[in-house]
């Protein structure tokens, strides 16, 4: 059991200023560890250096490149590598925690540059791609250096096993369950309401599936309404909706964390019709913690988060008829809905930071067995050993 405070270095591969799941995860984890008394330094690509918290160190401005079918804001190159090296050598860390070390960004560079206790967390879930046969031999020796690998979901774990032939411990993403437990019921959002949160313009978020299901739902539940929150152009989406259904929609725009908790406490159902590209589904954990009953597509990430349907209802992905059936069923039977929500709420405690961060910390402890600390890999080379013994190391 390690009781003295540790010096932990966390590397974030994506631009700190751009919103994203990985960034949120790192922010929450860093703040949790700092609150526990540890020293934490986060190295990340940063656009505006003045607006970042104290514990974030900039590795330079991120570069936007297309990767895996989306635009990723990452950072690499000789200058970034030099910064990574100097961050490692000046930080005297007990342990490094690298996020997404298989993405071409500073986590990968840090994995290359450092030696010692290192933990890697893999967030992404993707189908097996041919390109892995080309990049696998480059990545494998690097990923091997990690003393422990964490995957945020079973989907991310099987991605890792398929691509890099290595196993990982599954530790889910964290939420602050308490913040969601105290949402206040808002009258105008309650009734037969369906909630949807996310960048609704992205096809993979699946708003279209919900739109297709709505005419059927409205036939059986005449007073149903849909509340959509998240950034995007609502005018454009509304134009495409049938005139008769438009009045059932309300676009809330971006909402705060507090409003999110209130929304989850007020709505009858939270619907996540995502069609893919989701590795974990943090929003479902938040909806469950907020006390809402959840209906989600049966993509692997959601299926495992909802315990194969035990903590929330699942429908076959991209099937509006089935979605409608389940929603109607749950709207008509409040008892069933409440029972599902209650089960989900208990389950959501599993994702609370108090549980998740302790699990991550116990991985830290296990990686540090042996007592070595983090240093630059080049210090380990034969000729360096020779030179330090020959002329002494002041």
């Amino acid at each position: 059991m390690i009781t003295q405070p540790l010096r932990i270095g966390i590397v974030c591969p994506y631009g700190w200023d751009t919103p994203g799941g990985v960034q949120n995860h790192i922010r929450d984890l860093a703040e949790y560890l700092i609150a526990k008394g540890h020293y934490v330094s986060v190295l990340a690509p940063v656009i505006d250096e003045d607006s970042v918290p104290d514990y974030v160190v900039s590795a330079g401005k991120p570069i936007s490149i297309p990767y895996n079918g989306a635009v990723a804001r990452v950072l690499f190159g000789p200058i970034a590598f030099a910064r990574v090296r100097s961050w490692i050598s000046s930080g005297s860390f007990d342990l490094l925690h690298l996020h997404e070390p298989a993405i071409p960004s500073i986590s990968l560079l840090a994995c290359w540059a450092a030696e010692g206790p290192m933990v890697g967390t893999f967030h992404a879930a993707a189908k097996k791609q041919k390109v892995i046969y080309a990049i696998g031999p480059i990545l494998e020796p690097l990923i091997e250096k990690l003393s422990a690998r964490i995957a945020v979901s079973e989907a991310a774990r099987s991605t890792l096993t398929e691509h890099l032939d290595t196993d990982a411990v599954v530790i889910p993403n964290g939420i602050y369950a308490k913040r969601f437990a105290h949402g206040e019921r808002v009258e105008k959002w309650s009734g037969n309401t369906i909630g949807f949160i996310g960048r609704f313009e992205e096809p993979r978020k699946g708003l279209q599936i919900l739109l297709d299901a709505l005419p059927i739902i409205a036939r059986f539940a005449p007073d149903v309404r849909v509340l959509v929150a998240g950034p995007g152009d609502s005018e454009k989406v509304l134009e495409d909706i049938d005139m008769q259904l438009r009045h059932r929609f309300e676009f809330l725009g971006r909402i705060s964390e507090k409003e999110k908790a209130d929304l989850m406490a007020s709505i009858a159902l939270y619907v996540a019709p995502n069609t893919g590209g989701e590795s974990f589904g943090i929003i479902l954990a938040e909806a469950l913690a907020g006390g809402s009953a959840v209906v989600a597509s049966d993509i692997p990430a959601f299926d495992s988060l909802l315990g194969h349907g035990e903590f929330g209802a699942l429908f076959p992905s991209e099937n509006p008829q089935e979605l409608a059936k389940i929603v109607i069923d749950l709207l008509r039977e409040p008892e069933k809905r409440r029972a599902l929500a209650a089960k989900g709420r208990t389950h959501a405690q599993r994702f609370d930071w108090d549980v998740v961060a302790e699990e991550i910390f116990s991985i830290y402890e296990m990686s540090m067995v042996g007592g070595a600390t983090v240093r630059l890999a080049s210090e380990n080379r034969a000729w360096n050993r020779f030179s330090t013994t020959e002329w002494g190391n002041q």
């Binding site: 020796p141 003393s147 196993d167 411990v169 116990s362 067995v369």
Partner: protein, 171 residues
Amino acid sequence: MGESVKDLLLVLLLFLLSLWYLSHSATRLDRLHHRVETSWANLDGLLQRRAAVALEIARSTISDPATSLILTAAAHQAREANVQDRSMAESGLSGALGLLLHDEISSTAFIEKDLMRELSELTDKIRVAIALHVDAVNRTQSVRKKFVFRVFRLAGRAPLPVTYEFEADVL
């Protein structure tokens, strides 16, 4: 003459490159062996602690005399077992602890609750430690099977790491 110098330089360059590659591969394998050792040390430490907790439980009021007897015997065997017998000994301890965990214990005493919580925390950690160790062993085995590593005997005299049998059914 210029041609032959060029050839010589090319051969020299290739030679240096392959030297570098070999040294790089040796470092890689060394690191993997180190990982096997530390992950085993970690697992071993946790198993030792589990045996200690089992002994404490045996001495406490949670267990009846019969259970105490089984637990004490199993914990001692697990502690004293050599590498070959370790697997069976740890499985035996798991079985003995399993009996205890499956019975619903309605103990109200503070110390007993603490012991049981420590045991369940240890069990979770052991599960993770096993996964880490098995991964390190598998990785090392698969790297050592590669051509370069076998031909140049990069593993030296280090024994090939093996996964102990109990690791699959220890819990």
